[in-house]
Amino acid sequence: MTFSEWIAEPVNWAFLAMAIPMVIAALRVVTSRNVVHAALFLVLALAASAGLFILLSAEFVAWVLVLVYIGAVVVLFLFGIMITRAPIGRETNLSHDTRWPAAVAALGVFAVTFWLINAVATQMGGFGDPLPAVGRATATGILGEGFINRYLIPFEAVGFVLLAALIGGITLARKDLTPAEEEEGARV
């Protein structure tokens, strides 16, 4: 498929209309000078990726993305930022010393994911086929049955990992005071 053939498909215009803002927003998340702006660009990137899921007929996944990530995770981010520090305007100390190792790690994750998807797609017949995007969306019931029948063990495993991460997060963030320190805190 040549580029002119590719661009002639209206589905691909929709893809570009969502993918380009998504990439730009994703870049602005890490380059933005204001931490609240960065979180808001994350909303834009997530909304665009929800749009991409709709384009792939995965309606349920798209709305899960909106409900969980935009409606809960980013709201918690913003809540956390605003309750601790939320200056209006530019900030200068946002960049981290470890940004180059972080960039290498991100590229590594990208390479592995790309390789994995490519390998799976090659095994299943390649990317060349047009997407069944205009047709009926994937039935939510089929997804649900998949979760509790065929993929029950991976599903539970992921749930277990998330629970462990939650407990780990609480353990790391929480600092139990000794009775003496508590008294100190109460007096201050």
Binding site: N34, L40, V43, E59, F60, F79, M82, I88
Partner: protein, 331 residues
């Protein structure tokens, strides 16, 4: 080609209708709220505008808001400040897409999505971002505290809202709004009879999501001026104002559809044009209930609000889901 043109025209017409519906609903409910609250407090309420009963009061108010200067505070974060009301309005208008007024898809602006109710809950949560943006970008302490309170409240009540609908989804066996209504029409009784716990939780959580009394800490006038809307004026304030009333309407539509049988009523064929009237009558009752509660209950304290959500509503909703699922399998 002609088919494509019709599609775009249809889309344009539907968008125009959706855009017109929000201000009309806002004016009708706003007027109802003014009059009802006045009579509940032994006042008269608006009586001058329009000759009798002050029926044109809200039109006059709308014209006033449009004329007002659009003030943006000096210290405000301009783009975020400007986009916040638009985002709140987006969450509101997108909800109107799935209102099921009639079994036939020819009437109304209905798109019967397979994920129906889930879409409604997801898209309404986008408004929270708009509220937080408004609170932060105003560069005002009252706005900031209002925005934070709103976020804490909306996070806490999002969960009971979603969990309360699950019981109905289990009973109906579908998430589509039309599917839920036709399940109730087919069995002849509304899900209210079995899901009254879910209904109660849904209505409480809805009041909290709408930040109306007794859950209006985010905009409490006596403590925070108007919370996150303090710095807004003119047209942008109008957006917040209309969004609240339009959200009251769409949340009432969802409650009426899920629990009260939507456009179905005993002995009336749902295929007739009575269907929208029946639905809107049920919605009217729910809106009256919301206004009634607002003007007769005192405001909760912040800790009471969080206790209610996390310690009472969420556990009860989960028990309700488990009981419904068990009974669905057993019966």
């Amino acid at each position: 080609m002609s088919l494509e043109l019709t599609f775009w025209w249809l889309l344009a017409i539907k968008l125009a209708v959706a855009a017109a519906v929000v201000p009309v609903i806002g004016m009708v409910i706003g007027y109802a709220e003014m009059k009802l609250s006045a009579h509940m407090q032994s006042r008269v309420g608006p009586y001058f505008a329009g000759g009798r009963f002050g029926w044109a009061q809200l039109i006059a108010d709308g014209v006033k808001f449009i004329q007002k200067e659009d003030i943006i505070p000096e210290e405000a974060d301009r783009p975020v400040f400007k986009w916040a009301p638009a985002l709140v309005m987006l969450g509101t208008m997108a909800l109107l897409v799935i209102v099921p007024v009639h079994p036939s898809p020819r009437y109304g602006i209905v798109r019967d999505l397979e994920v129906g109710i889930f879409y409604a809950l997801a898209i309404s949560s986008v408004s929270t971002i708009g509220v937080l943006m408004a609170g932060w970008s105003s560069a005002n302490k009252y706005s900031m505290i209002g925005g934070l309170r709103a976020a804490g409240q909306l996070i806490a009540y999002e969960l009971p809202l979603v969990l309360a609908t699950v019981g109905v989804v289990i009973q109906a066996g579908t998430m589509s709004m039309q599917g839920i209504v036709s399940a109730q029409v087919a069995q002849g009784w509304p899900f209210l009879l079995t899901q009254f716990i879910g209904f109660a939780i849904f209505m409480i959580a809805t009041l909290a999501e709408l930040t109306r009394l007794p859950f209006d800490m985010p905009i409490a006038e006596s403590e925070l001026v108007m919370g996150y809307v303090t710095e807004y004026s003119g047209f942008r304030f109008l957006f917040f104002f209309l969004a609240e009333f339009a959200n009251m309407f769409s949340m009432s539509v969802i409650a009426a559809t899920l629990f009260l049988g939507g456009y179905g009523l005993w002995g009336i064929n749902p295929e007739t044009l009575f269907s929208p009237i029946i639905l809107f009558a049920k919605v009217g009752i729910l809106i009256f209930l919301m206004i009634w509660l607002r003007w007769t209950l005192p405001r909760l304290r912040e800790d009471q609000l969080q206790t209610l959500a996390w310690k009472w509503l969420i556990p009860i909703a989960i028990v309700n889901i488990i009981a419904t699922a068990v009974l669905k399998v057993v019966l």
